[in-house]
Amino acid sequence: MRNVELVKLFGRRRTWVSLLLLNLLPTIVAGLLAWTGLAPRPGSGPAFLSAVVADGSLFAIAALAIVLPLFLPIAIAVVAGESVAGEAQAGTLRYLLIRPVGRTRLLVRKLGAVTAFVLAAVLSVAAIGFLVGRLLLGKGTLAGGMISLSGSVLTPGDIAWRTAVAIAFVTISMLGVAALAIFLSTLTDSPQSASLGAMAFLIGSSLLLTVDAARPLQPYLPTRYWLSFVDLYRDPVLWSNIERGVALQAVYVVVFLLAAWANFTTRDVTS
């Protein structure tokens, strides 16, 4: 048992319910698409939905695009916001610290558990999306490749590695959310406040992206490059926004984790 925090997180029914709910929305969308055959016109609606009717395998990536703007960050903000503040609220934080578990060590374990949850969430959405797509929307023409956003044909090999990179990119984007929520979780003894605070930050960021006057700020907003994984399906791949997205998330992760560490290791635990 290397990480007790993993056991605690995944031993809890709430964690599994949130993963289940996270996968429910894409499954419903796939069901509706299969039933009606009505795909949005290319260029409207969530990314890739127009393509999946032709090829169900692509639903893995479409499912990620469906949950990325709201559902995925909510689930992660809830779990990460719970990490330290949840222990504080239950009163177990003081007993962990006098067991003793060093404060830095505890924070690293919490980060490990939250990262595992992020991976589980992203991978399960992609895997279940793939399965549901294959079952409900048919195998399509995967063997013949897919039409890229630039109009050329991508081979199955191309699609496979691009999808792997897309999953990694989404995971990194979500780690930014996780780091923010963990930081807020060390500030308060209320897990709800930490989760809602993180959500408010993300909603604020999404809102500012739609305001022209906020243009100078936009390259630094955490949600700015979230949907840039779509660029992986251009031919050739348009790397510039993906690179910027990774760099930006790395800065957010480092800054928020350092802030969380600085705060948690020097504060009075009065819960």
Binding site: V4, K8, L96, I98
Partner: protein
């Protein structure tokens, strides 16, 4: 000062040893301020090996803040803290595995059983080598042992959600005992227990004390402290106003207590030797209680009770806290 292994076994749990034993907790000028409020003000504690130290104080007097400082949960504003011979919170990783604690009520994960909570609690920290070690191999056995000790053997597998307040309190105590600590720091350990439970816990603490565990017990229940403790410290609005062996506090005052239904005739007989008169109770200055008794009886005064006056803990505490209130400069 270092605590050597033989201090654990070499300590006699009696009064004389407690005044000579090595220091288990020592603070010098411990002060904690929250903003402009001083919760704990220049407290100098000394708790020795073999003590059952009763840490008394009204609600809000700073007991819990002091306990949290000792355990490194709250960082002191100034002053020095030594626990088991090492500075806190600097040496927390070495000190805390040898300390078991119950701070401001128990806490556990409600969806897990009591036993699983203990196992998880134990697994979350490192298992040091030596007498306080015990790794994952005997973890379940130790969990079962302590559940048995606190009287939860039969319900250890039920989820904590279904526990009563008293059962949670026992589970918290079990967690504190899991690693056979040299020092037990217990904040209100009998909270929520019924009289039977209080007696059981008291007997358990006395048993542990007899095997060499030092107990630091914070409480506002005087009766509990009076029955259990060998030394007491009294905190009044952040100040330590008293730190003494209980025996010393309760030494006879030199006056003789006489209880008689003929109080008025006794007063007129003894005159100025009567220091205090309250109903049937008289406090008399007398060199020899035997002669006093003979004197009273030969004068036809019926004596129901006669003996040296001992102050109760309550008297002492009232006196000390009143004295400090009188010192205070009105603002």
């Amino acid at each position: 000062m270092t605590t050597t292994p033989e201090t654990r076994t070499g300590v006699e749990p009696d009064q004389s040893a407690s005044s000579r034993g090595p220091l288990v907790i020592r603070t010098e000028g411990l002060t904690k301020k929250y903003g402009s409020v001083t919760a704990v003000d220049a407290v100098d504690l000394d708790v020795r090996a073999g003590d059952i130290y009763g840490f008394l104080g009204a609600n809000g007097s700073g007991k819990t803040t002091t306990v949290r400082c000792l355990l490194g949960l709250v960082l002191a504003t100034s002053g020095r803290i030594e626990v088991l011979g090492s500075p806190m919170p600097k040496a927390a990783a070495d000190v805390l595995p040898r300390v078991g604690a119950l701070v401001e009520g128990p806490a556990a994960y409600g969806h897990l059983s009591g036993r699983k909570n203990l196992v998880i609690h134990d697994a979350s920290g490192r298992a040091p080598s030596g007498p306080h070690g015990g790794g994952r191999r005997d973890r379940s056995r130790r969990a079962d042992d302590v559940l048995e000790m606190v009287g939860l053997g039969a319900v250890g597998r039920r989820p904590v959600r279904a526990y009563s307040l008293g059962m949670r309190q026992r589970l918290g105590l079990a967690a504190a005992l899991l690693r056979q600590p040299e020092l037990l720091v217990l904040d209100e350990p009998t909270n929520g227990l019924d009289p039977q439970g209080i007696r059981e816990i008291r007997e358990l603490l006395l048993r542990l004390h007899a095997t060499g565990t030092t107990v630091f017990l914070s409480s506002h229940l005087l009766a509990e402290v009076e029955q259990l403790c060998t030394r007491i410290g009294l905190l009044d609005r952040g100040h330590l106003v008293l730190q003494e062996a209980l025996e010393t506090l309760r030494t006879p005052t030199g006056l003789t207590l006489v209880v008689t239904p003929d109080a008025d005739s006794a007063v007129s007989l003894l005159g100025s030797a009567v220091e205090h008169h309250d109903g049937e109770r008289l406090l008399v200055r007398a060199d020899d209680p035997i002669r006093l008794n003979a004197h009273l009886v030969t004068e036809g005064i019926r004596v129901r009770e006669l003996g040296p006056e001992r102050r109760t803990l309550e008297d002492v505490i009232e006196e000390r806290t009143r004295a400090r209130a009188a010192d205070e400069v009105p603002t």
